[in-house]
Symmetry: C2
Subunit: 322 residues, 2 copies
């Protein structure tokens, strides 16, 4: 590391905690990954976080750690450092993460929603560079959103802005875990992609082989990656699933473009490997649905920082606030 001081950025997921030292120029050092161990409860997760910080610190005994940032899925009270609720941590209710970590760490600690952190990371080093306004969309179990307006993340009245996955796109659609019906993320997340594949598998005739025999698509292949591989090989069923998926993705992006007149949408998350199979379909849908002049300007982009986006964003949030 070139500098004498550094920050640690953390990305707290349902399966793993990932973290690294980040220098002032945005380079990552000493990356570490620990299992989150959600099932062992809140105290264990927080101890794992502290251990991961400690392990990274051990690698740089001659450098000074000046702060830690973390991205956490869920609704966060940014100013206070409180995780209000998190879909991956059902036992977390108004967890004062800043206070709890202070038992282990006597340094500035910032926490924000993981999609916000990814947006901040992509703007620093990735596809959102120098954009005054842009929206980061992460396609995973659900759909996360981080909205950059006038050069800063927009958090809204209570730090919960960006719940874009819960826009209603089908008033009488599927029931969502949030209590609503027809949320966008039920159709356009990675999980939505799988649901769509299952649905089309049941309803369509596409999966009939040329010899006329019913050729069932193997269930094990119905994962985002599996579907992507099928589509790579030219499988018409997989191709049609991604086309339909792109349409659903486009509906929500067109809504956001209409409301905010943002041109730049950066797409990240688990489905990104199949970008080529759904991006054009999404773009067509956006042009069709967004208000005339708005739709023409929309620039749909792949995220560039991959798994590092959240770590970078968490680190920059600390650098910007100390």
């Amino acid at each position: 590391m070139p500098n004498n001081t550094y920050v640690i950025g953390l990305d707290l997921g349902g399966t793993n905690i990932r973290g690294a030292a980040v220098d002032r120029s945005g380079k990552l050092w000493g990356f570490r990954k620990f299992p989150t161990e959600v099932q062992k409860g809140k105290t264990r997760v927080i101890r794992n976080l502290a251990n991961l910080i400690w392990e990274i610190q051990q690698q740089y005994p001659n450098k000074r750690l000046v702060g830690v940032g973390a991205g956490v899925p869920g609704t966060i009270q940014f100013e206070k450092g409180i995780v209000t609720r998190s879909p991956h941590f059902p036992d977390w209710k108004n967890v004062h993460l800043r206070k709890e970590l202070a038992l282990y760490l006597d340094l500035p600690f910032m926490v924000d929603n993981d999609a916000n952190m990814a947006a901040i990371g992509e703007r620093w080093k990735g596809a959102g560079k120098q954009k005054t306004n842009f929206c980061m969309i992460t396609l995973g179990t659900g759909i996360g959103g981080g909205i950059f307006l006038n050069n800063r993340i927009f958090r809204g009245d209570h730090g919960m802005a960006g719940e874009i996955g819960h826009m209603t796109v089908h008033p009488d659609g599927y029931l969502c875990g949030c209590g609503n019906t027809g949320c966008w993320e039920l159709y356009a997340s990675a999980n939505g992609l799988i649901r769509l594949a299952e649905e089309l598998k049941t309803n369509s005739n596409i999966n009939v082989s040329r010899k006329g025999k019913k050729k069932r698509v193997q269930s094990s292949l119905i994962s985002p990656d599996g579907l992507g591989k099928l589509a790579d090989r030219g499988d018409p069923f997989a191709i049609s699933v991604f086309k339909q998926y792109g349409r659903y993705l486009g509906i929500g992006i067109a809504n956001l473009a209409n409301v905010l007149n943002i041109d730049t949408f950066v797409i990240g998350g688990g489905v990104l490997g199949s970008w080529g199979h759904f991006a054009d379909s999404a773009r067509r849908e956006i042009r069709r649905r967004a208000y005339v002049f708005i739709g023409k300007k929309v620039d749909l982009r792949k995220a560039l920082c991959g798994d590092s986006a959240g770590i970078l964003g968490a680190a920059l949030t600390v650098y910007d606030n100390i």
Copy 2:
């Protein structure tokens, strides 16, 4: 007027141009209304605008006019003073309104979308007072939106933010004039209310009188005001229409709340007279659909400035920019 200088605020509608002198404290003076005369073409509309300004000026010969602001429906390039397109003025295409008015008026002139102007007016003197973030929603022929974020109107990348009426709420719904299908304004504008009434009239059994005879709701009564009067009298058909209308209104507001985590939504426009018949239904729908913590906080309010909101906003925009 107490001050020696004043600004004129204008509201350019499809039927009338309305304007007044506005003093620094936000009081309206010498209100005037002219027919717009859209059918006589762009040059005539602009001359009417100039005449209205002149007539207001004549009333205050000892005061000095220092600028003019106007709200215009459509997509506006605020910085340049250009009306890109306007649904009410089909012959207006990239009309440089600032330049055209300069033939008559040698003073600063600002033009913005009418819903933005209404939002600015409501924040100055009405239901949006002192709000850091709020969204003004005008329910008319379509649905207009003006979004206040971090204490200023948010215009997006090209000054077109707030096209909230064109969010898709039914992917395969009615065809909208914008080319999309299932736009929110087809269901939740004043026109949407009428469509809903027509639909329910055809499909339901509600309009069967107690004596068992089919009692057709008179077509002439199917106007927002007519329906409102019916509902006031306890008519079950009209009441059910408003209830359903409130649901549609709530869908879009829940979407906006999810995306922006804005608490305050100020509702204006032609349907406001029937507020009591649809507000609770809209609130229920918002609580049902918005993300848990977000929905609880939503504060749905009636606009307070009525027809003056746009004039006030246009005037304040000038005061803030000269």
